[in-house]
Amino acid sequence: MSAAGPSQGARPLPREGASEAARAVPAGTGHAEVLLDVHALSAWYGAAQILFDVDLAVRRGEVVALMGRNGAGKSTTLKAIMGMVDRRRGTLAFMGSDISTAEPHQVAQAGLGFVPEDRRIFTDLTVAENLEVGRQPPRRWSDGSEASTWTPERLYRLFPNLGGMPDRPGGRMSGGEQQMLTVARTLMGNPYLVLLDEPSEGVAPVIVEQMAHMILELKGQGVSILLSEQNMHFAELVSDRAYVLEKGQIRYTGTMADLAADDEVRRAYLSL
């Protein structure tokens, strides 16, 4: 797989006539159930259009990276999926149900968790209280098997730092600890799929390492992840597939390994 050229973008994506599932997921990346299917998503802040017909999909068990430079529209894509933008258009399906016009709380209740880039910890609340806000009932997959269920105790084992300070106010934590708390808080909703916005940004290298470890751990628990990322190295460590965004449009779709090997695409859309 290689890019067709920087001006035109990546391989022309099959649009017309393509079946629903095959639209954004290239063949040969597994046959698991499609959890999230985004088709022709456009989004606006005020009068400014940020996204232009974005297509993407995430299958059960996958970690998918949404790559792109600053301002390419990565965070906006995640927020638009959650319904947290001023205006959006397009078809969004999550586990078979239509969420194109759902409110953020309905999307979250459907089992789609969101971890914002700027963390948005409740600084007046303790660690335990932050987790309580995110709590939702346990879920089951459509085949009846139990989905990963999180409790504070289990999360404290995954993030030992948090386990040592359940009563500390969120405002008195380091950046890295806050980053862990914002992930843990979202996991309390027992999501099938987590939208993870720039987990490696602005934290110390040791935390970045822990984040990568955490993502792989979650994957092992059966949680799927769509993460936005600028850091190629980090994305390579954790992701199965990648999409590359530029100026609000998808420019490349492929496996992470192919993207890592494709200097041309990386130079065109990712290098600074």
């Binding site: 959650m82 953020p104 999307v107 209740q109 409740f122 609340l125 932050n130 309580e132 806000v133 808080r185």
Partner: protein, 632 residues
């Protein structure tokens, strides 16, 4: 010993008074924290609480019915609050903040008339509480047992609220939503129900606060605005969103009032100072001091900048040929008005009122819209202009035109002082400080009998012979109002106006490009005060008399309603809003006893139909269509 006893009695009295004040303020604070709505109708909930308790006692039966009646009142008001949230506020959460304020103010009007219809205009004093009718001797003085009970209620409710907020999931969600409600939604919590629950809880607290006052305070229709003023003060002094802060502030203010009453008239350095007169104003003095020294309140915390600064304001449009033609036609019609309406002389009288309202509203819009400073006390400058004119005329006997020129300077001088403090704050805090200063000015005017005529005001402020005819006075008013509106518009399209709007849109960026933001805002504040003063002076001469009403909070609210009704984003807004409001007020007031409910109902309908204001809506209709056409 007796002095001590009376001092203690007053302190206990203050404590008892603090409890109800705290309940109302705690509810207001909770609602503001979660929904970001400044609920003007909160005092109305308190008032309804007393009325419902009164009726419930009568219905259940005096004596044993007393305590259940308090609960009935609290729950009933809570249900009213929930209905208000579901039926009205839920539809306008996405509207600009000030529109929500306008809607809650319309509710004040509707609820007041509903109470008038249900309970009539007489004061109703409830029965005393069974079991607490007697009094307790403290230091040889008899102290009502019920007041001791009230003293306990405050801390009790504070404790229960604290438990609710820190020990339950609901409380955790409320505190989280106070900080970042969007994130709470993204974590799967349905905000709509959270908001309804908080609004109902806040209303319930206000209703309980009112019901508890049943034996101490007669139910009257004036309680709503009186209570909301006091509750705002307590919330701001204690710190927005801080429940313990509300309790501390309620105690502080109630005790200071008690001490002022106890001091009575004291002679200091040969001057007799009546401290008991200070009770009208002490809370506003406290608020002004707190806002200047510690703007986030005693127990509050400095607020981070709001996550979203709201929608970006569209640039002001320069008048195009259509707007110019419409303006010219309007001016011509106004000039011709006396000739057209010679059959009905009242038209000119009403037109003078409308013109004065237009200048007042335009001057308020000048700082609210383009400068982004929401003044809740603009009537102060209107009143200063009016009193300035009246006092100058009476004291110096100067010719009227000289007085008319000097009076606005009096108002501007007031604005220089208030503005200097106010521009150091922003948002709700600025609004509250302007309100505090206006209330202080009102209290001074209301009580300084020798200089301002006290509550009676001043009479005999008539223009000279050649302006005695209403039509001549109309011509003068028209000329001055047109000139005033034109100058204010001209300033907005001058570099100074650009600086004002830059300062509103981003203080940091405006600062970074060399605009002295505080200075620009200060000057804007003074200019607005100057023109409000001119409107006030014109008002004084048109009525021939002037009363403290002219700088009361009600007048400030009228101004707000005019600006918001017309639409804050358009320059035509205040003109349309002032004309519409004054005309509606006049027409409706003459046709029904329940004019407030009518007016409130009309405002509610307008708010729900036209969230950008009437003029904003008209502009969208005219220009929206034209833009669509030119796109094709």
């Amino acid at each position: 010993m007796d002095a001590l006893a009376s001092f203690v009695a007053q302190l206990l009295n203050g404590l008892a008074g603090a409890s109800s004040l705290f309940l109302v303020a705690a509810g207001l604070s909770l609602i503001f924290g979660v929904t970001r709505i400044v609920n003007f109708a909160h005092g109305s909930f308190y008032m309804v609480g007393i009325y419902v308790a009164y009726s419930a006692v009568a219905w259940i039966g005096e004596g044993p019915g007393y305590w259940p009646a308090l609960l009935v009142a609290a729950v009933a008001v809570g249900i009213v609050g929930a209905l208000v949230e579901i039926l009205l506020l839920r539809r306008i959460y996405h509207a600009p903040e000030l529109f929500q304020l306008l809607a809650t103010f319309a509710l004040v009007l509707v609820i007041k008339d509903a109470a008038l219809w249900l309970w009539g205009p007489e004061e109703l004093l409830g029965p005393r509480a069974p079991g607490l009718r007697g009094s307790v001797a403290i230091l040889g003085r008899q102290f009502p047992a019920y007041d001791l009970f009230l003293i306990v209620v405050g801390p009790l409710v504070l404790g229960l609220l604290w438990l609710l907020l820190t020990r339950t999931r609901f409380g955790t969600l409320v505190r989280a939503a106070t900080q970042d409600r969007e994130m709470v939604g993204a974590l799967g919590v349905n905000q709509a129900w959270l908001f309804t629950a908080v609004f109902a809880l806040g209303a319930m607290l206000a209703g309980l606060g009112g019901a508890l006052q049943l034996p101490r305070e007669p139910a009257t229709l004036e309680l709503d605005l009186h209570t909301i003023g006091a509750a705002f003060v307590v919330v701001v002094v204690g710190g927005m969103g801080s429940i313990p802060g509300a309790y501390v502030a309620a105690l502080l203010i109630a005790e200071l009032k008690a001490i002022c009453i106890w001091l009575g008239v004291v002679e200091i350095a040969g001057v007799a100072i009546s401290f008991s007169k200070l009770t009208l104003v002490v809370e506003f003095v406290v608020m002004a001091v707190v806002l200047v020294v510690r703007p986030w309140g005693l127990l509050g915390r400095p607020q981070a900048a709001p996550r979203q600064g709201g929608a970006i304001e569209a640039p002001l449009r320069a008048p195009d040929s259509l707007a110019k033609a419409a303006t010219a036609a309007l001016v011509l019609a106004l000039v011709a008005l006396p000739a057209i309406s010679s059959q009905s002389p009242y038209v000119v009288v009403l037109a003078v009122d409308i013109l004065i309202a237009v200048l007042f509203a335009t001057s308020l819009h000048f700082i609210m819209g383009p400068a982004g400073m929401h003044s809740f006390g603009h009537a102060a400058y209107f009143g200063l202009g009016a009193y300035g004119a009246a006092i100058l005329l009476k004291a110096t006997g100067a010719p009227m035109l000289a007085v008319l020129a000097a009076a606005p300077l009096v108002a501007a001088a007031g604005a220089v002082v208030v503005g200097w403090f106010s521009v150091r704050l922003s948002g709700v805090y600025l609004a509250m400080l302007t309100l505090a200063f206006a209330q202080i000015a009102w209290a001074i005017v209301y009580q300084w009998d020798a200089f301002t005529g006290g509550s009676n005001g001043l009479t005999g402020v008539w223009p000279p012979e050649w302006l005695a005819d209403k039509r001549a006075y109309y011509a003068l008013t028209l000329a001055l109002v047109l000139a005033g509106v034109f100058v204010l518009r001209r300033i907005l399209h001058a570099p100074f106006g650009y600086a004002m709007r830059a300062a509103r849109d981003s203080v940091l960026r405006a600062d970074a490009i060399g605009i002295d933001v505080k200075r620009v805002q200060w000057v804007a504040f003074v200019i607005a005060g100057l023109f409000a003063g001119l409107a006030g002076a014109l008002f004084a001469f048109s009525k021939g008399s002037i009363s403290p009403e002219s700088l009361h909070v009600g007048k400030s609210v009228d101004g707000l309603v005019m600006v918001l009704l017309g639409g804050i984003q358009t320059l035509a807004g205040p003109v349309v809003g002032a004309a519409l409001f004054t005309w509606l007020h006049d027409t409706v007031a003459r046709s029904t006893e329940y004019w407030r409910a009518m007016l409130g109902g009309i405002i509610l309908i307008l708010v729900l139909l036209f969230p950008q204001g009437v003029a904003g809506f008209a502009r969208q209709v005219v220009y929206g269509r034209r833009d669509a056409r030119s796109e094709r």
